[in-house]
Amino acid sequence: MKKMLAGILSAVLCLAMFAGCTPSLDDNSSSGSSAGSGSAAGSKLKGEVKTSGSTSMESVVKALAEAFKEAEPDVSVDVQLGGSSAGVSNVIDGISDLGNASRALKDEEKAEGLTENIIAYDGIAMVVNPSNGVENLTKEQLVKIYTGEVTNWKDVGGADKQIVVVGREAGSGTRDGFEEALGIKEKTKHASEQNETGLVKNLVATNDSAIGYISLGYADDSVKMLQVEGVTPTEETVKDKSYPIQRPFVMVSKGALNTQAQAFLDFILSDAGQKIVVQKGFVSVK
C-alpha cells in the first residue's frame, strides 16, 4: 500500500514539476523522481536505458541507476564497461543511449553531433602526512615524483627524506583520473599500491614521507591536502577549473534521447541524483 501511495505521490509530483515547479519541493528525495519526459504523466515509464563506457564512472552510474530504479521500477539501466572512448563510439553507432566518458569530448567526437552532459566532476586531492612541511607542488613536480625522477622531499622544498610514492591499483578510477590529468599513464613508479581510498589515507597518515592521491570528497584531517600550482583543492576550484587535477564525468548523447533515458539523465541532474554523486566522493555540477 505504502509503495503504491509513494508511487502515486511521486507521479503527482512529476506532474507538478512538469507544470513548472522546482524539484526542491520533493522532500523525500530517494523515492521521488524528476521524470520530466513528454509521456503522459501518471503512467509509469518502461523499457531499458543502455549506457556504456568509462570504468571510472561505473560505481557512480550504478549507484544512480539503483536509485533511479526505486523511482521507476519498470525501467532497467544497463551499465556496460569498456572505457570512455568505447562509450562514445557506442553512442555514435546507436548501440548505447548514453555513453559514459570520464573526460571532455575530443573535437572530432563533437563533430559527430554529440551532446556533452556533464553529470559530475572528479577532483583528485594530493595528500601528505600532516607533519610534512611541503604546502604546494607544481604539476611538473608531481609528474617527476610519480615517475621516479624526484625521490627526495628536499628536491621539492621539504625535509631530507625519501619520498614514499603511494598509488592505487590498476583499474582504479582515481588512478586513471590522476594519471590522465598529469599525462603519466603507464609511467608511474610506486612504493606501494593500495586498493582502497581508506588504505591510502591510512598509509599517508602514518608515514611521514608518503604522498598519495584520493578523491576530493574523501579527504579529512588525518592527512594534509597539498595545493597544486598554488590552488587549494575545493569544490569551487574544481568547478571553475582552476584546480588542475580534475576531470569531468560526461554522459554523451546523440540527438533526442528516448523517454526513459531522458528521465534517467534528468534524475542524475536533479538534487537527489547529485546527492548520490557527492556520496560517491565526486563534486556535484550544481
Binding site: T55, I163, V164, E169, G171, S172, H190, A191, E193, S209
Partner: protein, 325 residues
C-alpha cells in the same frame, strides 16, 4: 581379528535370529555387527544422509576445480601459458595490456619459503617443549595461548603487522616504507605457527612410549632421545603440520595485502611485492572483462600450485614414513 568378528557375528545371530536357523551365520537376518540384511527404513535414510554429507565435500572439490578451470583457462589460452607464467610485466590496463605474473609467483614462493624457514624451527621446538619438557601447568598456559593464536582472524594479523612490524622494519633497516617482502614473511611465519605446533605436538605425543623408554634405557639423555628418537618417529606427523602451514602461507591474503606494499615487482627482501593471492584481490573490484578473466587465471595458477604442492609433499611424506617403518 577377522576370526573374532565372525564368531561374534555368529553369536549375535544366534541370539537374535529366528529359532529354526540358529547357529548358521548365512541365515542370520539381524546381525548387529555387519548390519547386513537388517536395514530398517530409518537406517537406510540415515545411511543416505551420511552418504550425501560425504559427497558434499567431494562435490565441492569437483565444482571448484571445474569452475576454476573454466574461468581461468580461456585467459591463459589467449595470453599464452608461457607469456602468462614467465612474463615480467603486469600492466592490465595499459593501452597494450601485458599479463605477466612471474613477479607474483616468485614473490609468493619466496614469502612462503621465508615463512617456513622462520616458522618451522620455532614451531617444532615449541611443540617439543609442550610435549616433552614443559611442566603440566606451564604447558596448559602455553597451549591456551597457541589456541588463541590459531583463532585470531587474519585481518587482525594484518593490522598488527601494519602497526608494529611495518614501522619496525622501516626503522631497523632504515627504509622509508616498511611494507615489503620481509614484513609479509614475518607475518606469515607467525600465522603458520599454531598449525605447526599443534599438529607436531599431537604427532610427538603419539610416538609409542616404549621408543622413549628404550632410548632412555640405553643411556641416552632426554635431549638426545628427543632429537634422535622422538622427532624422527614423529616425522610424518610433523611433516603434515608443515604442509598445512605451507598451505596457509600460500593462501593467506588479507594479512599480506596490508603489509606487502602490493606493487608488482620482482621480489626483493626490502622491496614492495605483490603475491598471487593479493594480486587477485587488489584489482578485482574495478577490473574490466578480460582483466577479470586474467585475475581468475591467477586463481587457477594458485589452485594448481597448491594442488601440486599437496600431492608432492604427500608422496614425499608417504615415502619418508615407509622408510622409517
Amino acid at each position: 581379528m577377522k576370526v573374532v568378528q565372525n564368531r561374534m557375528e555368529n553369536k549375535l545371530a544366534v541370539h537374535t535370529g529366528p529359532a529354526t536357523g540358529a547357529g548358521k551365520p548365512a541365515r542370520a537376518k539381524n546381525s548387529l555387527v555387519t548390519g547386513k540384511k537388517s536395514k530398517t527404513p530409518f537406517t537406510r535414510v540415515m545411511e543416505a544422509i551420511f552418504f550425501i554429507c560425504a559427497c558434499v565435500a567431494v562435490l565441492c572439490v569437483c565444482l571448484i576445480t571445474f569452475y576454476m578451470v573454466s574461468t581461468g583457462a580461456p585467459a591463459i589460452a589467449e595470453i599464452g601459458l608461457f607469456d602468462f607464467l614467465l612474463g615480467k610485466v603486469w600492466a592490465p590496463t595499459a593501452s597494450d595490456p601485458q599479463f605477466g605474473i612471474l613477479p607474483m609467483v616468485l614473490s609468493s614462493i619466496l614469502a612462503t619459503l621465508g615463512a617456513i624457514v622462520i616458522g618451522v624451527p620455532i614451531g617444532i621446538l615449541a611443540s617439543v617443549f609442550l610435549a616433552e619438557i614443559a611442566p603440566k601447568r606451564v604447558a596448559k598456559v602455553v597451549r591456551a595461548g597457541i589456541e588463541v593464536l590459531a583463532g585470531i582472524p587474519s585481518v587482525i594479523y594484518g593490522l598488527i603487522g601494519m602497526l608494529i612490524i611495518v614501522p619496525a622494519v622501516a626503522k631497523i633497516f632504515n627504509v622509508p616504507l616498511g611494507m615489503n617482502l620481509l614484513s609479509a614473511t614475518l607475518v606469515l611465519a607467525v600465522m603458520i605457527l599454531p598449525t605447526i605446533i599443534s599438529v607436531s605436538e599431537t604427532a610427538l605425543k603419539s610416538v609409542p612410549r616404549k621408543y622413549k623408554e628404550a632410548s632412555l634405557a640405553c643411556g641416552a639423555t632426554h635431549i638426545q632421545t628427543i632429537f634422535k628418537v622422538m622427532l624422527p618417529a614423529a616425522r610424518s606427523g610433523i611433516m603434515t603440520g608443515v604442509v598445512l602451514g605451507i598451505g596457509r602461507a600460500v593462501g593467506e591474503t588479507m594479512a599480506v595485502i596490508m603489509v606487502a606494499g602490493n606493487v608488482v615487482n620482482m621480489p626483493k627482501l626490502l622491496g614492495s611485492v605483490r603475491l598471487m593471492t593479493t594480486g587477485i584481490v587488489m584489482e578485482m573490484s574495478y577490473a574490466g572483462a578480460f582483466h577479470k578473466q586474467a585475475l581468475f587465471a591467477i586463481g587457477l595458477i594458485l589452485f594448481v600450485f597448491i594442488m601440486v604442492l599437496n600431492i608432492l609433499l604427500n608422496t614425499v611424506l608417504k615415502k619418508m614414513g615407509e622408510k622409517y617403518e
